[in-house]
């Protein structure tokens, strides 16, 4: 077994759904505090790769390491569940469709897991909810239900919910894709704030401008492989691969 030198280390990740091979031998390292963007056309495997990191879509081949611990190690079912539940507490995830719990207020959404898993008292939980919701600018809506919030507000609560577990890694799967254009910015601002705090983040996005402005490194995926990766200044301005150029031409022109 080789020494773990990277914060997140993906080695030869392979994933098939039945006969469909969605990830083909992907290797990727992310350092602590780094922000990595993943772009690529629909169906290229971006979500699958992201979801493999916290084992929502377990790999069918290869290894994922997080902070010195192998995510997808072989264990008997019960032990594996325990290992994964423990590990997921350190990995926040934000979904395209928010997935807020509709039967809980913003406060309850944020405090449910910390209370349940870390045994926080109600007072500590309330303090935590206030702190996290304040951070995403949602403090004044703390006792609102998700149905009473706009899409952008929901997503900010969802980010607060993830942050309340004090994760060391945040995964974003198209956090703004389901939002009306005028609501995108408020969510992007929250993510930028996290970037300034040096949160380690892996961000799947369709927004090239946003990726260029916050990411240290951007990966372009196509058909289950990483075609090209590099700092945004290089990848967006001088891509070396034809497939990248073609994708960027469509997406950057399409956006402007």
């Amino acid at each position: 077994m080789t020494e773990q030198t990277h914060f997140v280390e993906i080695r030869h990740a392979q994933k098939s759904f039945g006969t469909l091979e969605v990830l083909k031998d992907i290797s990727l390292n992310v350092e602590r505090g780094q922000i990595v963007g993943i772009i690529g056309s629909s169906g290229s495997g971006k979500s699958t790769l992201l979801r493999a990191i916290n084992d929502l879509d377990p790999l069918t081949g290869g290894e994922i390491w997080l902070d010195g611990v192998q995510v997808n190690k072989t264990l008997p079912h019960r032990q594996y569940e325990k290992h994964i539940n423990e590990l997921r507490q350190h990995v926040g995830m934000v979904f395209q469709h928010f997935n807020l719990f509709p039967h809980m207020t913003a406060r309850e959404n944020v405090t449910m897991a910390p209370k349940m898993l870390k045994g926080l008292s109600q007072a500590d939980a309330d303090r935590l909810a206030e702190e996290q919701l304040d951070k995403v600018g949602m403090l004044e809506r703390i006792d609102y239900y998700p149905s009473q919030l706009s899409g952008g507000q929901k997503q900010r609560v969802a980010i607060a919910r993830a942050l309340a577990m004090k994760p060391k890694l945040m995964l974003f799967d198209e956090a703004t894709s389901a939002l009306d254009p005028e609501l995108v910015e408020e969510v992007n601002l929250v993510m930028k704030k996290l970037a300034e705090e040096h949160m380690t983040m892996i961000i799947v996005t369709h927004e090239m401008d946003f990726a260029a402005s916050v990411c240290d490194r951007v990966l372009f995926m196509d058909k289950g492989v990483v075609v090209e990766e590099g700092p945004p200044s290089v990848l967006f301005k001088n891509p070396t691969q034809n497939r990248t150029r073609e994708f960027l031409r469509k997406h950057i022109e399409g956006a402007s």
């Binding site: 423990e86 897991a113 898993l117 149905s147």
Partner: protein, 215 residues
């Protein structure tokens, strides 16, 4: 129409209506227990349990409830199951209702967006924690109305136990027809009492449904 006769026998029908209500309540409780277990089995990660759950549903929804009652009550003693008519009625109808409720409960659970479980699991909740804290509270709200439909059908199905001589509403009506030769009046009286029971239960279900909705 012999109104005087109806008024005269009415107290006996009322008494029988209480038997119907008791039968319905006990059947509903047993049905809910069977339905919960059935749904849990159908949603289990173990194939054997899934198979047993599916078999339970297809057997009990795939045969007439009356035949199930007859097998239990008349056939039971042959295989060592001795039940009085009331017990056989509750157990037979309860297991039958449970098959329908299995599908209702399962339907409500699988109707919850899978993103809900994913979000809960992502935070570190175990499968069971996600189920009881996130999935079930939402599914329970979805279940109220369809379980109300199951309850409505179950109350009407209690009429079947007249066939094994449980003295409930339908049986009572039949008995008074024997002595009065007035089937129209007797069945009408029974029908009205059923309707009242079902109306009250229906309002209760509607009230509960409103009460549990999220703002």
């Amino acid at each position: 129409m012999d109104i005087d006769l109806m008024l005269k026998v009415y107290p006996f029908f009322l008494e029988a209506a209480w038997v119907t209500i008791l039968l319905s309540v006990l059947t509903a409780i047993l049905g809910l227990i069977c339905g919960t277990l059935g749904a849990a089995a159908r949603l289990s990660r173990f194939a054997v349990l899934r198979f047993l759950g599916a078999a339970y549903v297809s057997v009990f929804r795939g045969t007439p409830a009356l035949i199930q009652l007859f097998i239990l009550y008349f056939g039971g003693p042959q295989i060592g199951i001795q039940l009085d008519a009331f017990e056989a009625g509750v157990i037979g109808l309860g297991i039958n209702a449970g098959a329908y409720m299995t599908e209702t409960i399962r339907g409500a659970i699988i109707a919850i967006d899978k993103g809900q479980r994913e979000a809960a699991r992502t935070l570190g909740l175990s499968g069971w924690q996600a189920t009881y804290r996130v999935i079930l509270p939402q599914a329970a709200r979805l279940m109220v109305r369809p379980l109300g439909v199951n309850l409505n059908m179950l109350i009407k199905a209690t009429a079947l136990v007249a066939a094994i001589a449980v003295v409930e509403l339908t049986y009572t009506a039949q008995r008074y027809i024997g002595s009065t030769y007035k089937p129209f009046e007797m069945f009408l009286l029974a029908g009205v009492l059923y309707m009242i029971i079902i109306y009250v239960v229906g309002r209760g279900v509607a009230w509960l449904d409103r009460k549990v909705q999220i703002t």
